[in-house]
Structures are given as structure tokens and as C-alpha cells.
Amino acid sequence: MTIGAITKVALMMATSLCFLWLSAPAQAQSQAQAQTRQQLLQEIESGQFREAVLLGQQAVSRWPRDAQFRHYLGLAYFESDDLKQAQEQLTRARELNPEDSATHYDLALVLLSERDYAGATGELEAAIKLDPSNALAHMLLGRAYLNSNRSLQGIEEFKTTLKLDPAIKLGHYHLGFAYFSLGRNDEAISEYKEELRRSGESAIAVDALGHALLAGGKYEAAVTYLRRGTELDAPNPDVWYDLGKALALAGRSAQAEPALRKAADLNPKDPGPHYQLARVLEKLGKTNEAQKERERFAELKKAQPATAGMATGRDQ
């Protein structure tokens, strides 16, 4: 045996001992990491977001390069309505692990909540690239497209959503909404009805169906849904306005008046109900009241801020 060999063996033994010495704490550390991860997940799932934020902060401080802790902490912030912190943590998580579809998806949720539709679009596209089977991601991407004025792409995403999960809640509603935004009323009505058939009654789908029927001139059918809408969603001035307008156009001015007054009460800055009221009151022979409503309409119009772009039914 040469010295070199002894030395080599000794060195090998020393290395092994050193590894054993080091691996014991590493295992413990790994165990602690896993336990923390489990606890954090439980807190989020049970809705203990404040606790989750505190635990997540500790975890991130201890394991700063752990993408999952960042991800979970971001979610806890998101559920606590701290969108800025949520975005920061999820962005960091994405940088640490860009191949995680879930991180992209959750970051997109935050960006959508901040109305950063372009940012959300990028994250959702990345999430779908990594996991094309995520129906919810397709649905949210559809909405992001729609809000970025990419209506045709939005429709394609909603169709994909429904292919992946025909029973997904609000899937048909969103497809209907996209059709409606392009003036494809009959298709919108069909999708809204399908939403109600598949997912049961929801205020958002009932209101939308009533609105589309009204826009299509199907006044009596619109009244039926919009009445139900006012029961399901009583604080919503839009549904009262639509009900009043549908009643007025159906020739039921006396019934339209209270609905429009309710809309005006619920949204006192909106000139629209006063415009409708003036027309309804004129038909009811209440000329003086009609004139007052016209004046109120004009006052509210003047008070509105100047709008950029062309005058259309849609914000630019």
C-alpha cells in the first residue's frame, strides 16, 4: 500500500464521514420544509389566510429559493386581498420555477384582479402551454382576450374550455358574453340558456339573458328573466334599468316607471334611467314630471367626465 493509496482511502473515509455528518441535519431540514409546506397548504385550504401569510413569510425567509413557498405565500396574500404582495411573491416563484403551470395561472389571477389584462394574457398563455388541459385557464384567457379587445380569440378559448370541460361553471355564460359583444345575439341567448340549464340559476346568467333578449327586441321574454334577475340580484341597478326599459318597450309604461325609479335610486349618477323615465312619464301623460326627468338627465350628462374616443356602446 502506498501512501498515496492510504491517503486516498483515508480521504474517502473522511469524505463519507463528512457526508454522514452533514446529511443528518439536511434530512431534518428537509423534513421541516415538508412539514411547513404541508401546514401552509392546510392553512390556505382552510381559509386561515392571515396565519398562512405569517407562516409563508417565515418559510420564504428560511428557504428563499423555494419556489413553492413563494407560490403559496403569494396565494395567501391574494386571498387576503394584498394584490401587490401577491404579485411580487408569485412573480418570484415564477422566476425560480418557470416550468410550473400553476404558478403562471395563479399569477394570472392576480393580474386579472388588477385589470392587467395584457400581463394576465401572457401568464395564462404560458400556463396553457405547460398544461393544455386546464379548462379554467382557457376560460380566464378567453376573458383576458375579451378585455384586451381580442374578441375572436376569446371565443376560441371559450370553445376550447367547453371542449375540455363541458360542465364548467360559467363556461357557456362567457361564450355567450363574447358572442353578445360582437352583436351575435341569437348565439349569445342560446349560450346563456345553456348555462342556466347546465349550471342552474345564477344571477349573472339570468341578467345577461334578460339583457340579450331585450337587445334583440324580445321584450316579454326579457321581462320574465329580468324580473327574476331583480329577485336574485336586487342591489344591481342595471337589472332594474333593463327591466324598466323592457317593460316600457313592451308598452307597459305604468310598470316600467317604478323599475326605472329603482334603477335611478340605486345608481344616482347614471343619466340613463332618467332618460327612460322621461319617455315613460311622457307616455303616461305626466308631462311635468317627464320634463323634470329630462332636466335631471341633462344635468347628469353634463356632470359626466369627458370621454375619449368615438361614441359607442363600449368603452375604448
Partner: protein, 582 residues
Amino acid sequence: MRNLQVTVAAAILLIAVAIGSWIMPGAAQTAAPKSTVAKTPATNPPLFVDVTRAAGIDFHLNCGSKEKLYIVETQCGGAAAFDYDNDGWMDILLIDGSSIEDYKAGKCHPPRLYHNNHDGTFTDVSAKSGLNFCGWGYGVAIGDYDNDGWEDVYITGFHGSALYHNNHDGTFTDVTAKAGVANAGEWGTSAAFGDYDNDGYLDLVVADYVDVDMNNLPPFGVGPFCQYRGIPVNCGPRGLKGARDRLYHNNGDGTFTDVTEKLNIDPDRYYGLGVLWLDYDKDGCLDLYVANDSSPSLLYHNNCKGGFTEVGAEAGVAYSSDGHEQAGMGIDSADYDRDGWPDIVKTNFSDDTKNLYHNDHNGEFTDLAGPAGIAAIGYPYLGFGVKFFDFDNDGWPDIFMANGHVDAQVEGQSFGVGYAERPFLFHNLKNGKFEEIGEKSGPALAKKYIGRAALTADFWNRGRQDILFTNMDGSPVLLRNEVPSPGHWVRIKTIGSKSNRDGFGAKVEITAEGSTRYAEVRAGSSFESSNDPRVHFGLGAATRVDAIVIRWPSGQIDKLGPEAADQELVVREGSGVIERKH
């Protein structure tokens, strides 16, 4: 009131909060959902055929850059159908625009006058016509302002319009300065002749658009008023100063007096684009409707005492049915439901419904575009020229609508909105509803154009109404009516004696097979257009007209008939039918 974007945002939040989860749902593959709307294949013979080239129309409309970097480049293309030489056939006048460079350099793009050869072709007679308008032309109005029996021409332009007197020999003389209708410093768009005070002479209204300086145009895409759906586009009209519409009273001696201020016309300087004379309350005095861009449209009720009261909001035609300003472009009027009262159709911007204002017979209108089937399909389209006409002679006014966006930059985006767009042909279903059949009406109507002016005329005197519309940066489109087996018809050409010579504003009622149809005599309507002024009635299966009643602006009432179908009746006020053309 509902706002699309807000609703979308709320819906996203709803999903995010209610459904949001980082746990991925499992995939579930199913068949694609079935389409809910059946597509009808275009297998029918064409109803209209593009004969532009065959007819010898070789006009190319200049309107600035293809990119439409400035608002002045977005609205060109006036057109008129009129019989300038009194040969009984409709000729064509096309107004050219310009470019910023040419305009500044004083380079002319005069209008083109095409004489109808009576054989399906036209001859360009511009050079000898004297219609030498030099500037940036937009619209045109036709009327016999001096009652000499020959149609005169008014051309609107950027910072200056012009009146041309018909010399009775195929030529015209510029009489703008003498007449006092230069509309100096204003950007005129649509204009129309109408006798609002029933003095027997045609007055003139000019819609003025925006007050901009050609040497200091607002830079493309800069600022909030130069964006459309988040992309940079040409600026305006919002954010720019409006121009005041002008009303010129005809003094009866070849001159006009500007009565704009006196009669309180357009005091708020809204962005005027479309004008229409009509008697919506049938009191015998012409009212005036002006379609304004991105501001309330205005309805001036004529008090029959030489003045007007603006009643747009009260009448329900100032705003959308929700009280929103709309971007009004073209307007026309007809009694589409045959209840004996004139209704109104109006085109607007994309992302908005077009209006079909039904006359409620009490001074008010109700927008029935939704139930009529016009609202939804038109939503993504930007409409300009619009015209009621009975293309199949079934006795019920149909609608033609020329579409085309103002922002070239929308092309290629995923907005669901195009720059070039196909026109609409709405067929009247006789029950208050219309069916849009453009795509089924042949390749000419299925194609996409950047439509602007649109007019109807019987160019071949066949008892069929043809279509002409202009196309930005391209050739106009002359569509020959080839409807198989159209109904019978009768056409009435009015000649005023005490009333204005054209008989504009006269009301014509005919009765056939027990039902009565109503129309008003006019040439100016649509967008920057002047139409065949002869009143055309489809008669369906009826082979005769039992009675004709004409109420002239002077108050004279002529009762005529019975008359055979399928002929043009030339009627002189107080004298009855003076000529029958078969």
C-alpha cells in the same frame, strides 16, 4: 346602465374569487358544441351585379394616406344621381377628396361627372362640365335652387364649399360668391336642399364637422382622443373643436342669407355628418334632422312660422335608446311599416347599434332596431351611407347600408371589427322586421369595401332601383338591380309650380289594392349623397294604382288616378299628370 368593459371585469373577479384555485382541474374531452346559427349558403342568383367597369365608371377616390393618419382623410366620397341635362336619365357625379400634400400645394382633384348614355354605359363629361371644384371635396347636394327647371350642384369641402349653377347646356358656372354659400372656413360634409319656409325656393343646410387646421393637424395616435381599443389611430372628433352647421335661406334672387345664428342652428357646434329634411309630424313644414358624430343628434321642429325648436331628446332621436351619444353618420327616412308616417334610419360607429326610429305619430320616435333585426347584426360594423329603397318592388321599403371603418389600423386585429366591411341589404319582411340578405345576394354584396356615400337611383329607367356607393381609396361600386321577378311599380316625378320646382318636401300617397303607401320627395339623405329624386313605389302584384294624392309644400293638393302600373308619371303641381313614361 350596462357597460361592457365593467361587466367583463366584474365577471373575471367573480371567477377569480369564486372558482380561483391553483389546483388544476382534470381534462375532459368532449365533442365541440354545436353551432346555434345555421349558415345559409349563397346559392341564389345575384340580386345585384357590379357593373361599374362595364358602365364606364373609372373613378378612383383620393382621400389622403391609406393609413388614415388624420381625420380629414377618413370621410371622403360624396356621390349624386341626378339628371343634369334633363334627358330623363340619371347621371352620376362623384366628388373627389385630396391628400394633405396636394391640398397644401393647391393641386386640384375635381369631381367627375358621368353622362348616362341610356344604354347601360356612362361617358365622363367632367372636362367640359365646368364643375371645377378645387380643394378637398366631401359631399354633394342637388337641387334647382333658382327654379329654372335645371338641377344645380352644391359641393361641400374642407374650408370652403361651392355652388354651381346649371347653364342648361351641359355646363355649370360657379356662383358661390354671388350666392353667398361658400361655407368659408368650415369643413362641410353632407348638405341638402329643402324649402323650410315654403316660399317656393330651396334653402340649403350644410353639416359642418370639425374645426381643424390643415397645417396643424393633431398628430396620429398621440393622446387619449387618438386611441381606439388601445391602439393608436387618427385623432378625433372628440378632443377637437366642433364646427357649426349652417342653414342658408334662399332669397329667391340667386342669393342666400346665412340664418344659422338667427334660427339658433347647432349652437353647441356638434360634429355634423348627416342631414335630412323631413316632415315627421306632417304639419306641412319641413323639419330638419342632423346626425352628429359622438354628440347628440339634433331634430329641429319647424314651427311653421319661420323658426325651429330643437326637440331631439324629447322626440327620442338624439341619443341611443339608453341615452348615450352615438357616432351618427348617415340618415334616411321612409315609411317602412306603411303606417303612413315617416320613420328614420341612422348609421353609427362600430360597437354600437344602428337606429331604426319608428315614428310614434305623436312627435316621438322609438328605436326599434332591436326587434326589427337591425341592431345585433350591425353591432360590429361601422355604417355610413344608408338608404331606404324597395329593391324587389314588393311595396315595402328595404334598406341598403354601406359599411367601412374609419381606422385602417383595426385591420388584422382580433377585435371582430374590420376596416373593410361588407355592405348590408336588409329585406323588409312586412311585419316590422328585416332580414339581412347581403351575403346571399351575390358576390358584389358579399365583398368588403370601405363604404361611405350610398345612393339609390333607377339608372336604366327599368322600374328598378339600383345602388351606387363610394369606396375609400378605390373605385365606386355601381350595382345593377337584377332581382328576378320584381313586383310592379310606379314612379312619380314632381314638378312644382308654386312650390319649389323640384317639389322637394311634397308628400305622395298612393293607394293600390286597398292599401296606402306614403313617401316624401327629396334628393338629399344618406351620407354626403344625393339620390334619384323621383319617388319610386313598388306595387307588388298590383297592376294599377287606384289613387294618388300629392300634398305640395304650397298647400296645393293634387288628386290623381287611377293609373296603370309600371310607368313614370311626371306630375306638375296643379296640373296633374303631364307626361307618362313607360
